[in-house]
Symmetry: C2
Subunit: 161 residues, 2 copies
DNA sequence: GTCCCTATACTCGGATAGCAAGTGTCCGAGTATAGGCGG
DNA sequence: CCGCCTATACTCGGACACTTGCTATCCGAGTATAGGGAC
């Protein structure tokens, strides 16, 4: 089991967007440059975020990306789900029905117990991620590096009018 | 994010081993046949379980696999960890230190907040899996199909002496 | 009859191909803007 | 001086190669057993 690198990139990038002034968008190229990420590949993940309704894209010359909702209403789970998909990581293929070990059809009215256990754990994982919003992370005093946008980010915004 | 199919196979196979009489081993070929699994590939995962100390292999003619500990002392987390590895699914590559968004070195004395949130969620997931032992699943009344070993499994064991 | 030796059959274990998904990149479609032109 | 039109530059979006890791398989190393032979 291994997460896509895009998860880390997307969360950090969303935190950057959370630090922007209200309603202002940041182009994908600049967003990638902020953390020295490959712009073309980050754009691929931004598309996923747009489809999931987490961020919205502004077309045209002064366009870019911005959060679709206030940062306090977007959870880390929303971002991760947008990238990794909302399907379960564990896929029950019902092997209990195969081979000599298969029982009678009446035994299969309830879901596979193994599947239920795995699903429950995944639920706990997702629930834990839902406790944190982008606002919690972006405005945390200990990691307020994103608010140190004076030197670079402000210049970018000012250069764009 | 997606689990290896081997996780499902391994858990179910361990449940079969849990239903065996004390100290008796079952060959990998028979274990695979029980659920119509590819024997050669299941063997690969069984090796991982042996390395992790979850099951032990008995070499020789009447050898096979058996649980290394009582089923009540093996959790689902043990099995999953043996297959998927104990490394974290989320790998923090410290992109916060890259590009114009990078802060001063003194800001990096604490772990990345994003990494901590992801790690905490993973901890919750693992903790949930630790609540269930193989005994809980194998001897559950609702899914006692594994105890219906009379027809096939008993024959196999008897044929081996 | 008992003990030992050897050949056998069966077991696990690691080394070897094939494939899907993630990784990385590029170029085209679409839009708001800026400037020029006409009234 | 004001409004409209056009060309431009910039943006996002989807389509195209490449690499890593999972999937699937095979054959060789090792061991307990079973049988036969010697004592």
């Amino acid at each position: 089991m291994r997460f896509s690198d895009g998860v880390e990139w997307s969360v950090h990038s969303c935190l950057v967007l959370a630090a922007l002034p209200e309603g202002v968008g940041l182009p994908g190229a600049k967003l990638a440059e902020f953390h020295s990420l490959p712009a073309a590949y980050l754009a691929k993940h931004m598309q996923a975020l747009v489809r999931a309704g987490v961020v919205e894209s502004i077309p045209g010359r002064h366009g870019g990306y911005r959060l679709a909702r206030p940062a306090s209403e977007i959870t880390v789970a929303d971002v991760v789900t947008a990238i990794e998909g909302n399907r379960s990581a564990f896929r029950c293929t019902e092997i209990r029905r195969q081979g000599p070990g298969a029982g009678q059809p009446c035994e299969y009215q309830t879901a596979c117990l193994v599947s239920r256990v795995m699903g429950g754990a995944e639920q706990a994982w997702r629930s834990e991620l839902s406790k944190w919003t982008l606002a919690d992370l972006a405005f945390d005093p200990a990691s307020a590096a994103y608010l140190r946008q004076d030197a670079w980010l402000s210049d970018v915004l000012e250069a764009r009018g």
